[in-house]
Amino acid sequence: MSGESAFSGIQDGVGPWISSSRAPADNRLDMDTSAEHLVGAVTAFNALKWGYLSAITGFDSGTAAPSDGHIEVLYHFCRGPSVATFRVKLPREDPSVPSIGPLVPSAVMYERELSETMGVNVAGLPGRKRQFLSDDWPEKVYPLRKDFTMESAAATHAEAPTVGGEDEPGTFIIPIGPQHPALKEPGHFELAVDGEIVTHANIRLGYVHRGIEKGAEDRSWVHNIYLMERICGICSHIHATAYVLGVESLAGVAVPPRAQAVRTIFCELERIHSHLLWLGVAAHQAGFDTLFMYSWRDRETVMDLLEELSGNRVNYSVNLLGGVKYDIVGKAADSIRRGLDFLERRLKRYLKIVTTDESFLRRTRGVGTITFDEANRLGTIGPTARASGVSRDLRVEAPYMAYRDFPVVPVLDSRCDLEARFVVRINELFESCRLTREILNRMPAGELSVPAPRKVPEGEVISRVEAPRGELFYYIRSTGGAKPDRVKVRTPSLCNWAAVLSVAVGHKLADIPMIMVGIDPCFSCNDRSITLRRRGAPGGVPGALEQWSWEDLRQYGIKYYAGGGR
């Protein structure tokens, strides 16, 4: 599908609302519009049913001097390998756009991030005041602006005293309890329940917000590989891969095929370890700790393989700008084959368990259903989307690296419920095993890397890859220097939260842990607290706020179903 025909129809559809357009790359179409015309453009674009909103990027083209440059907001819509972007230029003082949330539900999360970190005023944005930055972050200080300084980010209330160490005898009485009035814990998930049924769900992110995108602007192109790897310890390789693919594209570096093959093998091995990890975590959420133990034990096989290949179990650091560091030959390749054989046997067992075990099915069959249309409307991606019949898999639609020569067979399921999500992920692993074997058998010969320049030419690039959780989106911008001007990362979990929050409403409280874990959110998100607002529940004061921990909610679900699911 050539770039031109992929975008045909768009220009006509949105013509009146855009001022100019161009194709900076084969698979990209950039359309300039303004804040006034944005809603019109997106409305017309939606009517075309061309693609889904993948990310919203904001960048500051200026420098430390506030009067330079402008703020630009990019709305990236994707369809297969093609990316159609609406671009809005805004002045640095008081940049303002309307929210497109009413048109595209998943936009709300991205717009909030934009408004908090870039300081763009998004008119009509619903929801809580702060999502990504903490409540004590000062007003009008936007970290992604070029004139941001660390001093300006000092907390707005007096620093809490740190705890010192001293010998003291006796016992201390510390007031604790869920009704502690001073407990200003920002609940990570906010749920309103009526009896047993959830009537409203909201989410608070920001616990793992470290400021990496800003940090990337301070590090050289190579240094950033190591930073991007540590966005997530579970899918570290795919992050680094997305980044280097983008930079190599900008720099015009042609990576040798053997290096691409090695990268791909690591990607698939990572997918295996990630899905097995998720299987164990999901089983643990449902109270089936045995399955948790088994799957994590089997996962050690992959960890051993990764260690044998790269020297580290986590953060394998395979990528260079221009290739890879390690080769896969001889003994290592045999180990991989043996490991895959073992895993395939185990996977068959797990598939049987998740599809036939009654107590497991009671918690997954027919629960958390996201219909095909809903999945499309809410912009769901990854295995969650594929379990609803939506065939979104970048390895298939927009093959990159070795996927061009070694095609992936997409794994779909039409049942749309939690059980389908289990089945899809396990079946994907069969596919990963098959693919890895094939690549090993026909590894392209050649070098492992080629040199890459220290300074990357000016330009923008969008790099999209299929992480275990779904589409990973990187936008990288260079102004010709030794450091990136802007790196924007949109992780797959962010895309799927809209779907979860929407499907949570109407379900029982006891189903919520499984529904949330069904999209495979980043593991650390499981450690969050929950604010519950009850209406008419036994033993609960109506309207009172309760603070639960994630563990409380998990136990609640387990006991609910163990008790017969009344």
Partner: protein, 166 residues
């Protein structure tokens, strides 16, 4: 005379019990999860920390040792403090991972504190990105060894940072 000998014996018994029964509670202050996965692996059957008397508890109120990862993001900071305060004395802290020491790979990023020791007193740091399960076990053993050598420092709990006891 009798009293002080009795005191000594009791102290020794108390110390022995703390070294041999360290119960952990785990907290992630914003890390990438790499260390947390390795900590879980440490407690899993392959490495079996129960040999040392270690048990993973769900509530800080049952724990002696807080095993903590991450560079402490701003939002996580208060939760970390509160978790620490909920632990009864005597209590100890193990900080796992390079980012819990200096911020590690995230050093200089705007939303982190960096050093867990700036928020709560840390007894043992385990560097690595992430450290292997064997290294984490070594960290736990180092803590226990440290306890043998000195009277354990008991941390005084500060007044709640939100002011006003209830």
């Amino acid at each position: 005379m009798m009293q002080s000998t009795l005191r000594k014996v009791l102290d020794k018994a108390a110390l022995w019990s703390r070294i041999n029964s360290p119960w952990l509670v785990h907290f992630n202050s914003g890390s990438c999860n790499g260390c947390d996965i390795e900590i879980l692996a440490t407690l899993a059957p392959r490495y079996d920390l129960e040999r040392f008397g270690v048990k993973l508890q769900g509530s800080p109120r049952h724990a002696d040792v807080l095993i903590c990862t991450g560079p402490v993001t701003r939002l996580a900071r208060e939760r970390l403090l509160r978790t620490y305060e909920q632990m009864p004395v005597p209590k100890f802290v193990i900080a796992v991972g390079s980012c819990s020491i200096t911020g590690g790979a995230f050093h200089g990023c705007y939303n982190i504190v960096g050093d867990i020791g700036d928020v709560i007193p840390v007894d043992v740091y385990v560097p690595g990105c992430p450290p292997r399960p064997e290294a984490i076990i070594d960290g736990v053993v180092q803590l226990l060894t440290k306890l043998k050598g000195a009277v354990p420092a008991r941390a005084r709990t500060a007044e709640t940072p939100f002011g006003g006891a209830e």
